[in-house]
Structures are given as structure tokens and as C-alpha cells.
């Protein structure tokens, strides 16, 4: 091909490109939604993570366990004279007995008193073989926390329900939500996964109808202890609870 021909071809291609460029704005429709893409992507990420954080995460972080025996506090409350302290008593040295030992149960249930299958289970699985009942403790604090029941019940004269809620009125044991990381009960963090909610002792301010609607106690975190201590003018020094 000669040099002249090359020039001609080049010029022709150049004209064609110019013509195409000139026609392009006419072919594109206006895409006004494009500016929404970042918002949509941001929003999707936002909603998905919110869903994970608020809905899926709580289901993963807590596993559910059941008490070895479905215990009715209300039935037992009716049968005893001294309320909670009939079974959850203070020992002579002032220490708190906590969850009753098998021997306490066996005082009445050495033999079946009724026909409740749970009672039969108690006698067969625990009383007869003399095996302690592996109760799951809802209110068990981490080992680094020192807590004296005597200081709160005897000295500060708090009601049991102030921290434990109306567990004394319950007919059944509720599932024990166990934190898979720490092993402690969900009752400590509180049932609001955001960690917000009423302090346990606010139960006492509710009227009975409102209180009866609540089936579980509120939270028992360090801030809650601190708040109550502050309100009551009790020391909030570290060593009060962390020996």
C-alpha cells in the first residue's frame, strides 16, 4: 500500500470515530438511580449486620440448658413457713447456704409425697443413689467477684426478689441460657441483649400487676452493683467486691 492510500484510510477512520462520538449522547438514557448504588450497598451491609448483631448473635452466644428437675417454687412456698429462708438459709457462721443440698430435699422427699413425675425423677435419680442434684445457678457471679448474702440481706435488708426477681412465685424452672464463652448465665448480662434494661432492684418499685408480667429478673452486672451501692451510699471501691 502506498503512503497516499494510508493517509486516506487514516482520515476516513478518523471521520468515522468523530461521527460515532457525536452520536453517543443521543444513545444513553439518563441513569438517575446510579447515585443510589452506594447508599443501597451501605444500607444492605448495615441491615445485614444489624440483623446478625441483634438477632443471630444472641442465638449463637447463648446455648440453652434445662434444669435437671422442673421445680415449682410456688408449690414449695406454700408448704413452708419461713419463705425463701426455709431452704435458702443462713448458716450459723453467717454464710449463705445457697442452693439447697440433696439432704434438704430428702428431709421431705425421702419417699414420694405425690404423683408428680418430677418428684419421682428426684427420688429415683438423686435421692436413692444419694447423688447431688446438678442445679444450674442463674445468679452465679464470676469467680473474681466476692458477694456476701449476709451483707445484703441481713445488713442492707434487701428482699431476695430485689436481685432474683419473683422466682419464688414460679411454677416451673425456666431454661438456663448459658454464655458459650464465659459459661455464666444470661441473667448476669440481662435478657436485653443490648445490655439495657431495668435494674433488678427496680422490681421492688413496680406494682404487683407489672411485676407479675416479668418472668425473669433483670441484670446483675458490675454497673448494677455499683449503681445500687452509690444510691445507698455504700463504698464502690474495687476491693469491696474484688478481693
Amino acid at each position: 500500500m502506498s503512503t497516499t492510500e494510508e493517509k486516506e484510510k487514516t482520515v476516513a477512520e478518523g471521520e468515522q470515530e468523530t461521527a460515532e462520538h457525536a452520536a453517543a449522547p443521543e444513545q444513553l438514557e439518563p441513569v438517575t438511580w446510579r447515585f443510589l448504588i452506594p447508599i443501597v450497598l451501605f444500607g444492605v451491609g448495615f441491615v445485614v449486620s444489624l440483623f446478625i448483631g441483634w438477632v443471630i448473635f444472641p442465638k449463637i452466644i447463648y446455648c440453652e440448658k434445662h434444669q435437671p428437675i422442673d421445680f415449682s417454687h410456688s408449690v414449695h412456698q406454700e408448704a413452708v413457713d419461713e419463705g425463701c429462708e426455709s431452704c435458702h438459709f443462713f448458716r450459723e457462721d453467717g454464710s449463705f447456704s445457697g442452693i439447697p443440698k440433696l439432704e434438704n430435699c430428702a428431709e421431705c422427699h425421702e419417699e414420694a409425697m405425690g404423683e408428680n413425675p418430677e418428684e419421682a425423677k428426684l427420688i429415683e435419680k438423686y435421692v436413692e443413689p444419694g447423688k447431688e442434684i446438678p442445679w444450674l445457678t442463674y445468679a452465679s457471679q464470676p469467680d473474681c467477684v466476692f458477694f456476701s448474702h449476709a451483707a445484703h440481706i441481713k445488713m442492707a435488708e434487701l428482699e431476695c426478689a430485689a436481685c432474683h426477681g419473683r422466682i419464688g412465685d414460679s411454677d416451673h424452672t425456666r431454661p438456663y441460657q448459658c454464655n458459650i464463652l464465659t459459661g455464666y448465665s444470661r441473667d448476669i448480662w440481662g435478657w436485653n441483649i443490648a445490655g439495657m434494661g431495668k435494674n433488678a432492684w427496680d422490681w421492688m418499685k413496680m406494682d404487683d400487676s407489672a411485676r407479675m408480667k416479668m418472668d425473669r429478673p433483670a441484670r446483675m452486672k458490675m454497673d448494677d452493683c455499683g449503681d445500687c451501692h452509690e444510691k445507698r451510699g455504700t463504698s464502690n471501691a474495687c476491693f469491696v467486691c474484688h478481693k
Binding site: F42, F46, I52, D143, C144, T182
Partner: protein, 765 residues
């Protein structure tokens, strides 16, 4: 729609914002913080009812208070007000819960299935285990070999050792052996010099000048806590009131470091020094004239009924043990000897105590007598702040054993260790001698060996000889609570409950001057399938039947204990102990049950027992050099074993907590350090931490050098209590068992081991 990079970032920003506004990060942070403060694998005490119960430690005889949460024992503390320790506690007892709950417990009756010592066992029932023992003992008795049965125990006092002793008597064997301690020699010395068949007792609390011949007073000598508390008394008050402690020892031990004066002397020459001091006291007439002249025998020269003249202690000492002569032996200057003797004799309430280290070795009888002679010279026998014999709380006596022909014949046979025979008529047990005798005979001398609360496989001198002796015993039964070396090399283990799980009496701890009977009681429910050794012996006896069964009329061990204590049981059970606080030793006129009725410097009992006495020297305290085994040319150094407070070296292995208290200059991982004086190190071109081979005529071991100016040049030392092969990694394979490097140097008069060291060499590797 394709998600490009920009889109992904936009999505991530949204996700980040969403997560931030969700509880996830905050909740996880909180949970992590709780998790990190409460590691789930860290054991924490259980919660529950806290109770405190009192019992007595079988290790040190101290009263203890056990803190329990529910049935779980969580802490052992010293019992306040208990006469022995008054709130104090020894380090080993404080760590005892690790042994109670540790994996070294024997979980139930075990029968060996593999080669002995291979550690292969099968679990068997108590019925079968006891059946095996009964079968074996029954066969031996039927064949007239009852005397080939031996028992080795850690003590001969208290109801359980007495049951074993009674069993052998009814069965027909003389071979009850007690493991070695300085009590062996002390009992002999007290028997010969004072005519008292009892151990020694010291009124340490009231002594004002304590002259200690190598005793590790704050290392565990005597009753550990009691002596440490006495040390506190010595140190209390102003300078005039406080007592003086003088330590004579070739090494700067803790006791030496705490002493007012420390005199390092050549090892093994303590007896010579005691006689040198006696020389000065006699020469200067500083002795207690009333006691020596009126209540002792053999001080002056004397003539017997046949008119034969005998030399007395005074002449012997004045002639042979001048300060200069003793200085040459001991390495201590004559001036210091004179000064020390004068200070001791002139002191208010002086007392001389003997027994190397914790007192876990027998020692030389003459050396012990020489030291005790110092007490006689200053007249502190049965006096406040002095020395007496150990009394026991009186208990009910058991009915006499009716022996049949086999029992009489068997019991009348010579003992396997040679004790009580014509050669050593006064010695009751020779615990270091039986392995040599067993190994020296072609015939099988011990057909069955029962071991209770002792670990002879580990604690007996010359480990190689002990291992050979064990190999020659066809049937070894251990009653051990823990899987110790003897249990590990036994054929059958019948585990005894831990002392926190059982009843037992605790007789007066060694060295105490007031009779005390403590009650060991079950304060923790049994952790394993164990059975009380007392009950097992009763069952074996009953199943053997005949006179053996008849000798044990009791239903069970608890009945034995209650009937033995008798009327005092209620008091004992309620208080946990019986103390005869108003006891005072007899006055000098009635104190001595010797042939002369006096304290004997010259032992008359030897001739009366028919022993061949060639010269008076044999009957008087004198110095007989107990040369350490080995050729000085080949082995230029002298190795001495030392005992530490923090390292148990008896029948029970050191608990893990105590192992952690060993310093890095004592044990580093599995390597043991040997103490070497810098001068010795320079001579042999050794440096700190140097890897060396320690060799003695009995064995060798790899050790690391630790330069220590507190040990005499030419002397090297390693601690006792390491080199275990049983237990597990926390104790096994760490360091060296000193007994594997030591031989037995027999004391010529008692037959007991007078070993205090051995010649050794160090070679760089």
C-alpha cells in the same frame, strides 16, 4: 450487578456501622473480659458450707485444722492451742491436700501383671487381694518358713505398728523392722546410759544455750514445727534473756545461718569435738559436781568385784582429747574449743543435741554417747531446759499372744537384719543391714515382705543393693497410700486410706518432753477404694485362723483403737488429744534403771549381755573415726547429703507445691546442683553451672556445679529427697537419690549405719 471494589467498600462501611450499632462488639468485649479473668481451666474452690475440723498430721505429729467446703478439703492450717505446734504447720503438711487428691494415690487394690517395676497392674477386689496374701502366708507357715516373713514400717509406736508386730509374733517371725532414724541410736544410748527403754526428749523451750551437733533444728529435726517455735522462743526477749544457739556443722545450713555461732568442722568428727569439750569442762572443773559425783557411774576410774581396775570417762577424756589433739581431728582451733566448752559449761540451762540434719539417719553410737555425756557433765538430765526420756500416755495393754509351736519356733529364729543377736544384742532394728544380708546368701532369706508407711526401696542406703535385695524377695506387699518406689516394685498393693480419711492414734512426736496422744480421725470421705491397714491385718489374721486369728479378738480397727485408749477415749475424741501437761521427769535418785542405778559413763550392760569387751574403751564414749568409703587417691572429695526444710526425703515424696520452693541453685528443671566451695572449684577447674559427673564408689550421676562458700573446701553436698522414680513427672526423674551414691558404714558397736558421707570425685563432662 457486579460488586466492584468501590461497592465492596460501601457495603463494608454499612456493615461496620450496623455492627457498631448492634450489641455484638460490646457484648463480645464484655464476655472476653470475663473469660480472660476467669480462665475456665483454672481450678477454683467449690462453693458450699465452710466447716473446720481438727485432726493430727501423720507427717509431723502436729495438730491441724482442716478447712472444708462441703466435703472438699480446701486448706490445712495448724491447730491453735495444740500442744505440739500451737497453730504452726510444716510446709509438707500444708501441701498435703495435693497428696490427698493427687494422681499418685493408689486407687484400689492392685496386682502386678507385668515384670516387677514395669508399672503394669490389674485392678482386683479386696477379697482377692487379701486372699493372695493369706494364701502365701498360709503356705509359708505350713512349710515351717514363717520366719522368712518380714515387715518394714516407718514407726514402731502406735496401734497400727503394734498390730503388725503382734501379727508377726502370733504368726511366727522375729522380723519387724523399723526404717532408719537417729532414734535408733538415741534409744540405744538412753538405754545404755540411763537404763530407759525410750527415745530422747528435750526441753528445748526452756534451754538457754543450745549446742547442736549438726542438727537441722529449723530444717525439720525432731518435731518440725515444735523446734522452729522453740527457735522463736530462743530469739525472743532482750539480749540477756535470749538463748544462744551454737551450730557445729561442715556446711552453712539454715540452722547454721540462724545460729549465734557457727563452727564448721571436718565432717564426721563431731564425736571428737564433744569429747574435746568434755576435756576442757573436766579439766577446768566446770562440770556439775553434785550430779557427776552422786548420780553417775564410770566417771572416775573404778574397780570391779573381781578387783580388776577400769579406767573412767574422766581419765580417758583427759588423756586422749586435749584441745590440741581434737583440733587436729576436727580442724577447729584449740582456742575455739576451749572457749566453746567454757561458754557451754558456764551457761544457764545448757543442752547438747545430736542427730544430723532432720535426724533421718542412725549415726554412730559412741558419737551420740559423747554428746549425751556433755549433758550429764552439765547436769541437765531430767531438769528444766535439759534432756530426759520420751514418755508415752498410758494406754490399755493388749492380751498376751498365745503362740503355738510354729510361732514360738519362728519368733525364736535370728532376725534377718542381725539385730538383737550375739553381735548386736542391744540393737532392736538394723534397717540398713538387711539388704546386704539378703544379697549375701544364696538361699532366699525373705519369702514375703510387708511394707507399711515406709518406702525402703527409696530411703535405704545403697539403692543398687536394695534393688537387688528386692529382686530376691518373691512376694512384696505394700500398704502404701501413694504410688511410691516400694509400691511400684511390689507384687501387690493394698492401699491404706490417707490420714485425713482414717482413724489412728498419734503417739508423742519425737523429742517432745510432755506425753501427748493425738487422734487422727477421718475428716474427709474416702476418695478411693482403700481399706485401713489395721483392718486388713485383722482380716488376714482371722483368715489364717488358729492362734494367729485368736491373737486378734477385735472386730475391726476402730474397736482396737477404742479399747486401747480405754477410759480416755471420750476425752480423746472430744478434745482431739490428751496431754499430760503436769508430767515431770523423775528426780535423779529414781531416774536411772541401769545396773548401777546411776547415769553410766561406763556402760556396764555390754559385759552383762555377754559381749566380748577387750578394753575399757569399748564401754566409754570415745571417738572412732568412721572413715568414709572410698580410696582418697581415686576419690579426693567428700560428699555429704544435706536435708532441706522444703524437700521431704522420707517415706512420702515432696508435694508439688514444695517442689516449687526449691531454688534454681538446688534444682533446675531435672538437673541437680552440687555445692562446691570456690576453692575446690578452682582446684578442679570447675565453674558455676558446670556440667560434671559426680562419682562415688557406689554410683555416679550427672550434676551441675553451684559455687557455695558455705561449704568447707574439699567437701561437696547434694540435697536428699530427689531422684524419685515413682510418683510422676512432677517429682520422678528430677535430680539424684543420694542413697544411690552412698554405701553403708556399719557402726562397730551397734551395727547401725554410721554413714555420714562418702568419698567422691567430680569430672567435667
Amino acid at each position: 450487578m457486579k460488586l466492584d471494589r468501590r461497592g465492596f467498600i460501601q457495603f463494608s462501611l454499612g456493615a461496620g456501622a450496623g455492627i457498631t450499632l448492634s450489641p455484638l462488639p460490646w457484648k463480645l468485649t464484655d464476655d472476653f473480659s470475663i473469660w480472660t479473668q476467669n480462665w475456665p481451666w483454672t481450678p477454683v474452690p467449690r462453693t458450699g458450707e465452710v466447716t473446720h475440723v481438727n485432726t493430727v498430721s501423720k507427717h509431723c505429729g502436729s495438730g491441724i485444722t482442716l478447712r472444708k467446703v462441703g466435703d472438699r478439703a480446701t486448706k490445712i492450717e495448724g491447730r491453735k492451742g495444740y500442744p505440739v505446734n500451737d497453730g504452726g504447720i510444716s510446709i509438707q503438711t500444708a501441701a498435703d491436700l495435693q497428696l490427698l487428691y493427687g494422681p499418685w494415690r493408689v486407687p484400689g487394690p492392685l496386682r502386678r501383671v507385668g515384670k516387677r517395676g514395669s508399672g503394669h497392674w490389674e485392678n482386683i477386689s479386696w477379697e482377692k487381694a487379701i486372699g493372695d496374701v493369706v494364701q502365701k502366708l498360709s503356705d509359708l507357715r505350713r512349710k515351717g518358713k514363717s520366719h522368712t516373713v518380714a515387715c518394714i514400717l516407718g514407726s514402731d509406736r502406735g496401734t497400727v505398728p503394734q498390730l503388725f508386730s503382734r501379727f508377726l509374733k502370733a504368726y511366727g517371725s522375729p522380723n519387724f523392722i523399723r526404717t532408719a532414724s537417729c532414734d535408733d541410736t538415741y534409744e540405744l544410748a538412753m538405754s545404755l546410759m540411763q537404763g530407759a527403754a525410750a527415745s530422747v526428749a528435750y526441753d528445748l523451750e526452756h534451754a538457754k544455750y543450745i549446742l547442736s551437733f549438726g542438727c537441722g533444728l529449723i530444717e525439720g529435726w525432731g518435731s518440725t514445727v515444735r523446734v522452729i517455735k522453740a527457735h522463736s522462743i530462743w530469739r525472743s526477749g532482750n539480749l540477756k534473756e535470749r538463748a544462744t544457739l551454737v551450730q557445729i556443722e561442715p556446711r552453712l545450713s539454715n540452722t547454721a545461718a540462724k545460729a549465734d555461732q557457727w563452727y564448721p568442722i571436718n565432717p564426721g568428727t563431731e564425736g571428737a569435738l564433744a569429747l574435746g569439750l568434755a576435756h576442757v569442762i573436766i579439766k577446768k572443773s566446770l562440770y556439775h559436781t553434785d550430779f557427776v559425783e552422786n548420780h553417775t557411774f564410770g566417771f572416775e576410774d573404778w574397780t570391779d568385784d573381781s578387783g580388776r581396775r577400769h579406767i573412767g570417762f574422766k581419765r580417758l577424756v583427759l588423756k586422749k582429747y586435749s584441745p590440741n589433739a581434737v583440733s587436729r581431728i576436727t580442724g577447729l582451733s584449740a582456742k575455739k574449743i576451749v572457749r566453746l566448752a567454757t561458754a557451754f559449761a558456764k551457761a544457764d540451762r545448757p543442752i547438747a543435741v545430736w542427730g544430723r540434719g532432720k535426724g533421718t539417719t542412725s549415726g554412730s553410737l559412741y558419737e551420740c554417747m559423747a554428746v549425751h555425756a556433755l549433758n550429764a557433765l552439765v547436769g541437765n538430765i531430767n531438769k528444766i531446759g535439759g534432756v530426759s526420756t520420751l514418755p508415752e500416755v498410758a494406754t490399755e495393754t493388749w492380751p498376751k499372744v498365745d503362740q503355738d509351736h510354729i510361732a514360738r519356733t519362728g519368733s525364736g529364729m535370728p532376725r534377718i537384719d542381725g539385730a538383737g543377736g550375739s553381735r548386736y544384742p542391744f540393737t532392736r532394728y538394723l534397717p540398713e543391714r538387711w539388704p546386704q544380708i539378703v544379697n549375701g546368701h544364696k538361699a532366699c532369706l525373705i519369702e514375703a515382705l510387708l511394707v507399711h508407711e515406709a518406702d525402703p526401696y527409696y530411703t535405704t542406703l545403697d539403692s543398687a543393693a536394695v534393688a537387688r535385695a528386692f529382686d530376691r524377695i518373691p512376694f512384696v506387699v505394700s500398704f502404701s497410700t501413694l504410688m511410691d518406689e516400694t509400691a511400684y516394685h511390689a507384687d501387690l498393693i493394698l492401699p491404706n486410706p490417707h490420714y485425713l480419711e482414717r482413724w489412728e492414734d498419734a503417739p508423742t512426736p519425737t523429742g517432745l518432753q510432755v506425753p501427748i496422744l493425738g487422734l487422727v480421725r477421718p475428716v474427709v470421705s474416702p476418695q478411693f477404694d482403700t481399706r485401713h491397714a489395721g483392718d486388713v491385718i485383722l482380716t488376714i489374721a482371722k483368715r489364717l485362723g488358729g492362734v494367729v486369728g485368736d491373737a486378734f479378738p477385735w472386730e475391726d480397727y476402730e474397736t482396737v483403737l477404742k479399747e486401747t485408749i480405754g477410759d480416755k477415749w471420750d476425752t480423746l475424741e472430744e478434745a482431739g488429744y490428751i496431754e499430760e501437761a503436769d508430767y515431770t521427769p523423775p528426780v535423779w535418785e529414781n531416774a536411772f534403771a541401769t545396773a548401777s542405778g546411776k547415769f553410766e559413763f561406763y556402760i556396764t550392760a555390754f559385759e552383762q549381755a555377754g559381749m566380748k569387751i577387750n578394753k575399757d574403751l569399748q564401754c566409754l564414749p570415745h571417738y572412732e573415726p568412721a572413715q568414709p568409703e572410698g580410696n582418697p587417691a581415686t576419690y579426693p572429695l567428700i560428699l555429704i547429703p544435706v536435708e532441706l526444710t522444703r524437700l521431704a526425703n522420707g517415706a512420702v515424696g515432696n508435694p508439688p507445691f514444695c517442689m516449687k520452693t526449691l531454688e534454681e541453685t538446688e534444682l533446675k528443671k531435672n538437673d541437680l546442683f552440687i555445692e562446691v566451695n570456690p576453692k575446690t572449684a578452682a582446684k578442679y577447674r570447675l565453674s558455676e553451672g558446670q556440667d560434671t559427673m559426680l562419682e562415688t564408689p557406689r554410683g555416679k550421676a550427672r550434676v551441675l556445679v553451684h559455687l557455695f562458700e558455705g561449704i568447707m573446701p574439699g567437701v561437696i553436698a547434694i540435697p536428699k529427697g530427689l531422684g524419685h522414680t515413682a510418683y510422676d513427672d512432677y517429682l520422678a526423674g528430677k535430680g539424684v537419690n543420694t542413697n544411690s551414691l552412698m554405701g553403708v558404714t556399719e557402726d562397730p558397736i551397734s551395727g547401725l549405719s554410721a554413714t555420714w558421707g562418702i568419698r567422691a570425685k567430680l569430672t567435667r563432662v
